[in-house]
């Protein structure tokens, strides 16, 4: 490398390039205004709003049951968990205790959602760094989860299965059998993911030491989820503030300290094993009982402020409800994991190459409607 002669008199100039709003690596309408010097990134300035629907303003108009349906459309890969967040917040406001059966089913479905999301991420991560095969492997396995959702919830993506007070209807008679089939299937396929991509030399070169985020910066930038845990910040809401049935299961919080793209990748792969373990602990022990505590047709939360957080596949989703006692919230704020994680992108990508930005974005696992809301 040192033998190449360089002409130091040639000066390069900084210039702007638009990455997006339609860019294959952004997986959505995210526009990044890059300031670059040659191929080195000087600054990343995200320009948002291409899919902004003002969900927070719509919430001020809607009833609490209606709000649940809007949340699928934020992080559509964690839609069940988003629904759960709003339901838990409303139940907290009503001081409503849901049956154990509801808690367990919600937890199982949340973990299935997380698995489906991580599978899609894995397929896309491979594709972004040039390994197209991963996409087909991931979708083969994700299809099984979607089928389970379709049978029990009636939808494959925007489930709307949670409602304040419990679940819209009870689980399908086939649910337990099909989940077990999936677990058996996926346990043989997850090692395949490692064999195909995790040890690949090209993949390692594209990810190891790329896009380093230190623990201090991760905390300061409000980063959460697998991105934070890849930087050594134990941010898992399921451990810090257990909700639903997470206090009844034992699982490890995966924390790695490298802080690079490869660490974020490994966290999600290892998390899939933990999700499988959580489902296995619960699937044979779904308590009998009702699937719903009926609420009034018009839900009015008492005056006050309610905050509920859950761990989606992307990190900490917070629902802040400010109620004045009416049937609509006075103000409802979604603290979306994608938005806070995006705030760290400039810091992580600065000084790297444009090609690295693609693998960094893949490891951040952005879902743009989650950022825009």
């Amino acid at each position: 490398m040192t033998d190449i002669e360089t002409d130091n008199k040639i000066k390069s100039e900084e210039y702007f390039v638009n990455m997006g709003p339609q860019h294959p690596a952004a997986h959505g309408v995210l526009r990044l205004i890059l300031t670059i010097d040659g191929e080195t990134i000087v600054n990343v300035d995200p320009d948002l709003g291409y899919i902004h629907r003002s969900i927070e303003k719509m919430c001020e108009r809607d009833s609490y049951q209606q709000i649940v349906h809007l949340t699928d459309r934020m992080d559509y890969l964690s839609s069940h968990i988003n629904n759960e967040a709003v339901c838990l917040a409303v139940e907290k406001g009503l001081q409503l205790e849901v049956p154990e059966r509801v808690k367990v089913i919600r937890t199982i479905l949340s973990e299935l959602t997380r698995l489906a999301s991580h599978q899609l991420w894995w397929g896309v991560m491979g594709m972004d760094v040039g390994a197209l095969t991963t996409y087909f492997y991931a979708f083969r396995d994700r299809e099984m989860i979607n089928d389970i959702f379709e049978e029990t919830c009636g939808a494959r993506l925007t489930m709307n299965y949670n409602i304040p007070g419990g679940l819209m209807y009870d689980i399908h008679p086939n649910f337990v059998k099909r989940v077990k089939e999936f677990i058996t299937h996926f346990k043989t396929k997850l090692p395949e993911y490692d064999r195909l991509l995790s040890g690949n030399v090209i993949f390692i070169n594209r990810t190891k030491g790329v896009g380093i985020l230190s623990k201090e910066d991760a905390i300061s930038y409000g980063v959460s989820g697998p991105v934070a845990r890849g930087s050594g910040f134990a941010s898992d809401v399921r451990k810090r503030h257990p909700y639903s049935a997470y206090d009844k299961v034992s699982f490890n919080e995966i924390v790695l300290n490298e802080g690079d793209t490869l660490a974020r990748y490994k966290v999600r792969i290892l998390e899939m094993w933990e999700s499988l373990s959580i489902i296995e602990q619960l699937i044979d022990n779904i308590p009998e009982g009702d699937h719903l505590v009926p609420t009034k047709a018009v839900i009015k939360l008492p005056k006050g402020e309610f905050y509920q957080r859950v761990e989606t596949a992307r990190g900490e989703l917070g629902v802040y409800i400010n109620s004045d006692g009416n049937k609509n919230p006075y103000r409802l704020k979604f603290r979306s994991p994608g938005f806070s994680n995006l705030s760290a992108l400039n810091h992580v990508a600065k000084g790297g190459k444009i090609g690295d930005l693609v693998s960094i974005m893949a490891s951040f696992d952005f879902v743009i409607p989650d950022i825009d809301r």
């Binding site: 320009d47 948002l48 108009r61 300061s220 409000g222 402020e305 905050y307 802040y320 704020k333 603290r335």
Partner: protein
């Protein structure tokens, strides 16, 4: 640190504060807007409090006042509080930025500026983040009117 200890500790700093624990699960401090930055910096740097994780920043329109709600946690000491600040000036509301204390605030404050029109003194890059630069008004304010796109009941 428990809430009582936190109140005792924070009261020794001599800021003019309103403290409440009613109607919310978090201990809430309402701070004067003039001392917002000093108060936040103290919360972050004091070894007894160490609030290093700003996990939610919410813009608010209380009808007469505009303001911000900060949800803060300490990753080390595991306690959480809420800080509120408000300004009665609806024409040119201005508050201090906290993005030099918690860097995630840079983005969240841009969002608040976009939807509530609160300007942040000392913010490095305050611009419309979601809406177009020529957008008229601030949509999340309670007195915002858009007859074409809003269903008014």
């Amino acid at each position: 640190m428990s809430n009582e200890e936190l109140i005792k500790q924070i009261e020794t700093w001599g800021f003019q504060l309103q403290i409440t624990e009613e109607g919310t699960e978090f201990l809430t401090f309402t701070v004067q807007k003039e001392s917002l930055h000093d108060f936040c910096l103290k919360l972050k740097t004091d070894p007894e409090t160490k609030f290093d994780f700003l996990f939610c920043l919410t813009g608010m329109d209380w009808g007469t006042e505009l303001g911000i709600i900060y949800h803060l946690a300490s990753t080390d000491l595991k306690h959480e509080i809420v800080v509120k600040v408000m300004t009665a000036d609806r024409e040119t509301p201005e508050l201090d930025t906290v993005c030099d204390i918690w860097r995630t605030a840079e983005f969240h404050e841009m969002e608040v500026f976009d939807f509530f029109g609160i300007r942040f003194k000392g913010h490095p890059n305050l611009k419309r983040l979601f809406l177009t630069p020529d957008w008229d008004g601030y949509p999340l304010r309670k007195d915002y009117v858009d007859e074409a796109n809003m269903v008014i009941k």
